[in-house]
């Protein structure tokens, strides 16, 4: 089993320059995540939850406070932290197995070990038989599975998920949530999921971190003491979901929550119909 990491975030703050003046996007975030824990982060658009993930993965620098992984302050990216974005970000010129192999490009494993790890992770996400497919041949859900395999292939201690299922249809989303839970239980690693979808947060999380915007802060942390697999139709499930939704107040946020970001990587050719 992969080693699971303890993540400590202490008094984290982040400023972004907005028209010349530094504006806080994150303020006073403190959160301690146990090894192997599944933490969901929910919040309205602009509450800085994606920025928080980008800080943990190391794509953003210059923060105040501390982000400490197993006693080590995070500087830059590292192979012990993996991430899955809302878009799969697979390289269209590589096949499924080549894309998964990117995660191992700079590992010190032998070619045989790599090949084995790649195959194991393609199997893990249920894409056996699609090894030599190109991304254009995959559906959105399959693309996200490959992205998950790529993120896990070098055995990270933490997996970060930035609205990974946000662009998928409801059926596929539900199915992939179950799959993700299975993978989490199998791999035993720490996962942090950022989502717009309160039900998804309740279904997957041991704890739910509710954030509020301007500047991004933690409003409340909700425990989810339900046994897995969770029954979305149960009273307890609905009660926790309602509790979290209450945090958003007048329901204005429910509308806000349903807003999905457009896929930034989509541009195609077009022709007139004639």
């Amino acid at each position: 089993m992969a080693h699971a990491a303890t993540l400590d975030i202490r008094n984290l703050g982040k400023l972004y320059p907005v028209s010349g003046e530094p504006k806080p996007v994150l303020e006073n975030i403190s959160l301690s995540i146990k090894p192997g824990e599944f933490v969901s982060i929910v919040g309205a658009s602009g509450c800085g939850k994606s920025t928080l993930l980008r800080l943990i993965i190391g794509l953003e620098q210059d923060y105040q406070g501390e982000i400490v992984l197993d006693g080590q302050r995070i500087i830059g990216t590292s192979l012990n932290r993996g991430i899955v974005f809302q878009e799969h970000r697979l390289f269209p010129w590589l096949t499924v197995e080549q894309n998964v192999g990117l995660g191992l490009l700079n590992s010190d494993q032998s070619p045989a070990q790599r090949k084995k790890a790649i195959q194991e992770h393609i199997d893990l996400v249920g894409l056996k038989g699609f090894e030599t497919a190109y991304p254009y041949q995959l559906s959105g859900g399959m693309g996200q599975r490959v992205a998950i395999a790529r993120a896990l292939v070098n055995r990270p201690e933490v997996l970060l998920l930035d609205e990974p299922f946000g662009a998928l249809d409801a059926l596929t989303r539900n199915y992939l949530q179950q799959e993700l839970q299975r993978i989490w239980e199998q791999e035993g690693i720490t996962m942090i999921l950022v989502t717009h979808d309160v039900e998804e947060a309740v279904y997957l999380g041991d704890r739910i971190v509710v954030m509020q915007p301007r500047p991004g802060r933690i409003k409340r942390i909700v425990d989810v003491p339900l046994a897995r697999p969770r029954d979305r139709g149960s009273y307890e499930f609905a009660a926790i979901k309602e509790d979290v939704l209450q945090e958003f107040g007048d329901g204005k946020l429910a509308a806000d929550l349903s807003v999905r970001r457009p896929d930034p990587v989509s541009a195609g050719e077009w022709h007139f119909a004639w």
């Binding site: 089993m1 993965i57 010129w93 700079n106 559906s139 199915y175």
Partner: protein
């Protein structure tokens, strides 16, 4: 440990099968019909030409009939003049194209990757690019003489410009998201270049190469018209000087045909090289 056994019963995947359906709103003729459709205008033009020649709408000394041109073509082919001149032109294009493509690629990569290099070199490059190939001809004749070097350099210039510009744009259009993926997996600069930037820029680079080859062919014929004693362009000048318009038109037909074949060839290579981009076709 990885085990293949799922810990909970999984529902069957509600996911669509691979391969997207063809876009329904875009009517495509079957291949055979497409070829026929592509031939409608050329055949119509040929008919018009034949009619014009037969009814002498234009003086026959100026517009010989298609049959005369065909005869001239076969005569040129039999005497070996056609092959000799076509080969001369062909090798000039290949040499100039190779030189220009390499230079253009290097320049384009430089522009795309380094803003410092760009700041220093791009303005001059742009200025040189704005002067048409023939504008350089008088100066280069004095500098290089009338020999092969002149043709190769001018063809190279015609190729270099589109290759450099398209390579630059191809590199700059690689999505930033891919660069983040490279950072996350700790790619070195070399890995970033060879595994992300160049493959990502390949569609753009290839566009430049195709433009470049078309340009090369056009530039070469232009140069041969003005400063050459062999080649297809020269054949045109030669025919005009002897008032053999059938030879002129025969050479024009060959030039057009070769250009068409070259471009088709590149598009075949493209289908192979960029097969991962199928959804954009």
């Amino acid at each position: 440990m990885l085990t293949q056994q799922p810990l909970l019963p999984l529902p069957t995947a509600p996911e669509p099968v691979a391969a997207r359906p063809a876009r329904r709103w875009q009517w495509r003729w079957p291949v055979g019909e497409r070829v026929l459709i592509a031939l409608v205008f050329p055949l119509g033009l040929l008919l018009l030409w034949a009619l014009a020649a037969r009814n002498e709408w234009v003086a026959p000394q100026i517009l010989p009939s298609p049959a005369t041109v065909l005869a001239a073509l076969s005569e040129l082919a039999q005497s070996g003049d056609l092959t000799r001149n076509a080969l001369v032109s062909f090798w000039r294009v290949i040499d100039g194209f190779a030189l220009g493509a390499v230079l253009g690629l290097l320049l384009g990569i430089g522009f795309g990757l380094s803003s410092l290099f760009r700041d220093y070199v791009y303005p001059l490059f742009k200025a040189i690019a704005q002067v048409p190939v023939l504008g350089w001809l008088p100066f280069l004749i004095l500098l290089l003489g009338m020999e092969e070097a002149l043709k190769v350099v001018l063809v190279a210039k015609a190729v270099m410009v589109p290759v450099a510009i398209n390579t630059d744009q191809g590199i700059r259009s690689v999505p930033a998201q891919y660069l983040e993926v490279a950072r996350i997996y700790g790619f070195s600069r070399w890995q970033l270049l060879t595994r992300v930037i160049l493959p990502g820029a390949l569609p753009g680079i290839w566009n430049g190469v195709r433009y470049g080859l078309t340009n090369a062919w056009l530039a070469l014929v232009a140069v041969e018209l003005l400063a050459s004693s062999e080649g297809l362009g020269f054949l045109i000048v030669y025919g005009r000087q002897l008032y053999q318009l059938d030879v002129v038109l025969a050479a024009v037909v060959i030039i057009g045909g070769v250009g068409f074949v070259l471009d088709k060839l590149l598009s075949l290579i493209e289908q192979r090289l960029l097969r991962w981009r199928r959804d954009a076709f």
